[in-house]
Amino acid sequence: MKRHIWIILFGLLLAGCTGDVTSVHILLDQTYTLPESSPNHTVVALLDGDVNLTQGSQFEGSTFIISGDYNLAGTYTGNLTVFGGTLTIGDSATVDGIVNIAGGQVNISPDAIIQATIQEGDVQIPQATLTTGKFWLDQIVWFFVETVPVILLALMLRRWWWQPFVNVETALMENTMVSAAMGLLVGIVTLVLMVVMAFTLILLPLAMLGLLVLFIAIAAGIIATSHVLFSMFTRRTGIEINDWLALVIGVFIMMLLLNLIENVPFSSIITVPLLTIGLGAVALTRGGTRPFETAHMTEQQ
């Protein structure tokens, strides 16, 4: 059954690659003037920067404005969705289709010809508000914002998914180099795959879901790594401590360490292996659902 779900998901992913889009423009940080006549169904995603549709130019397709400025003076046909940034519809503009305003700022000239349906919502892109302006206080606040969810996840793993967690820890201890190699590969490939999927726009929700899964896997990896290291420390020093407490203290120390060395030059020499080993162990055990045995071991059986 599980395999069927994967096949359906994969099929949906492939279906997302089709469609009649003839040109895609993803704009990150630049000034771009759309050509006088865009090919049929062009998709523009404005993540930042300036886009201009000049007077006399014609555009047919879809536009998604996340941030930046979109200045419209030509003839626009299609969907126009504003999540953030500024949309300016000038005097000489003609707009036909659907304008979805979910956020941002929209300025429409009274002389513009609007034949489009305008739909307004009140969805706003959230702004970061957890800054006080004081460096050390901000650092402490962010440390807790990051650490508390990881500790909560650790407690949940300890309570409900202990055996999978043990599988991850075993893989991590017995196959550290393999975990590191797999973690590096999974981390890089997944991140880039999610970005590519996000750029297709149609697969944006799937990309967000994928990133969430990746972050949970990284967090689970951090928890497993910190628990293994802290357990080794307590065994060496002879300190006897409750396993739940050991888990919490281990995660706390690990998160503290990661935060403290964040700004030290070349600290990635330490942080990257720490993160990738954990992530790799999670991937090798398929999220802890099965113990990992190397190919050499299974071939011997």
Binding site: F10, Q30, V178, L185, I188, L284, R286, F292, A295
Partner: protein, 424 residues
């Protein structure tokens, strides 16, 4: 505290020297193939001989066919004649091919007509055809089974570092000078090893009789030595053919597209080349570790998956048309995919073989899958380019082929059932 006896120390030293010989020989050989042969000959044909791309493609195809035939013939002889399975015989065959190749490399600039070019290609194919089974089969003499992944990683990392970072000027004149200077001392050293009796060569000759050297980890224990070509080998041949085909079909076009030139091997910026070379090395190490730990099907899945992703990225980038800035993620992913499969290629054939079968299997694997796929796809890429096929269409076709293989691998894993202990 245990004492290490002098014998053990000497054995370790000899074994280590064997590793050095093998890694050096294979890395230089591979760098020669991916630069001098694949790129240098195209430069010779187009710039110095004024040949059309179709003519070069036809000559490349000729080279692939002859190399393939000679290689398989030598491999078959090695399979049938026990004498050729001995280490010294392999060493002498290797010396012969490298000597011939060094002479041919030195003479390449004397080629002035298409007829001479074709003659040069025929002799080169002969040398390469002998070199493939002779050198690859030395794995069972020199490299422990448990170290093959990491040795393959060392070869791959070194070869790509040399090709991507150290060889900066990609014209045939410079290539000729560089490779003659490298190959000439190697040729002399090999002659000494191959023809002057000595304890070192004798020591290496004995290693293939030890099980930890002789029987690859993927050899079926029930019939390790008997059959000519097993169905399993055919599947691997097909998969490696696919990988080489995809790689060369896309790579040559990317190299020749001005927009992507500055983020490829031939980039003018040394930092970019260092980044690509570094990625090759790190990816090779990752692949070496994973090769030892994962099942081969999962490695193939990763390789095809990354190839599909990277070509999709190139397609998307070319469709966006947003200026001259090409993100380094594109060459980075390409380097990862290439390093992964190169490591697999250097270790796989030996791990499917015994001293009896390795000559034939490596000939089939490297010559048939590698050479023929590379040159067929190189030829196809040149013809498409000559016919004016746009870049995005070219890369999209490559992407589709990679995706088909990726789905094929998924289906293979799915149809063969969900074996216990298999990992992503």
């Amino acid at each position: 505290m245990s004492k290490v006896s002098p014998t053990t120390t000497r054995e370790h030293l000899y074994m280590f020297l064997g590793y050095i010989l093998f890694v050096g020989m294979m890395a230089i050989g591979y760098a020669y193939n991916v630069t001098f042969v694949q790129i240098g000959l195209v430069d010779l044909g187009t710039r110095l001989l004024n040949l059309s791309r179709t003519q070069i493609a036809l000559n490349m195809a000729l080279m692939a066919i002859i190399t393939c035939i000679v290689s398989i013939a030598i491999g078959f002889l090695m399979f049938k004649l026990p004498r050729l399975q001995q280490f010294v015989s392999k060493l002498r065959l290797t010396w012969f091919s490298i000597m011939l190749q060094t002479v041919l490399t030195a003479l390449v600039l004397t080629v002035h007509t298409e007829g001479q070019f074709r003659l040069w290609i025929v002799f080169t194919s002969l040398a390469l055809g002998v070199a493939v089974p002779a050198t690859f089969s030395m794995t069972v003499d020199l490299i422990l089974v448990k170290h093959r992944g990491m040795v393959a990683a060392a070869i791959t990392g070194l070869a790509y570092f040399i090709s991507a970072y150290l060889l900066t000027n990609w014209n045939i004149e410079i290539f000729t000078l560089q490779f003659v200077l490298i190959m000439l001392p190697g040729c002399i050293a090999l002659a000494i090893l191959a023809f002057v009796p000595q304890s070192l060569t004798q020591f290496w000759s004995q290693q293939q009789h030890l099980r930890r050297f002789a029987v690859g980890r993927l050899v079926k224990q029930s019939h390790p030595n008997t059959s000519f070509v097993q169905p399993r080998i055919l599947i691997f041949l097909f998969l490696m053919f696919g990988i080489y085909f995809i790689d060369s079909l896309g790579f040559l076009r990317i190299l020749e597209t001005p927009l992507y030139l500055n983020t490829a091997w031939q980039a003018a910026d040394a930092d970019v080349r260092l980044f690509i070379a570094g990625t090759h090395v790190i990816a090779a190490i990752v692949a070496g570790i994973l090769y030892q730990a994962l099942h081969e099907r999962q490695l193939f899945l990763w390789i095809f998956g990354i190839f599909a992703l990277v070509h999709l990225m190139y397609t998307m980038h070319s469709l966006q048309g947003i200026g001259e800035n090409v993100p380094l993620t594109l060459p980075m992913f390409y380097a990862i995919a290439v390093s992964l499969y190169t490591v697999v290629n250097f270790a796989l054939w030996a791990d499917l073989s015994t001293p009896k079968t390795i000559g034939l299997y490596s000939a089939l694997g490297v010559a048939f899958s590698g050479w023929s796929a590379t040159f067929i796809s190189t030829g196809l890429a040149l013809v498409w380019q000559q016919n004016g096929m746009p870049f995005d269409q070219h890369v999209r076709i490559v992407d589709s082929i990679a995706l088909i293989f990726f789905i094929g691998m998924l289906l293979m894993i799915y149809l063969q059932g969900d074996r216990r202990n298999e990992v992503p």
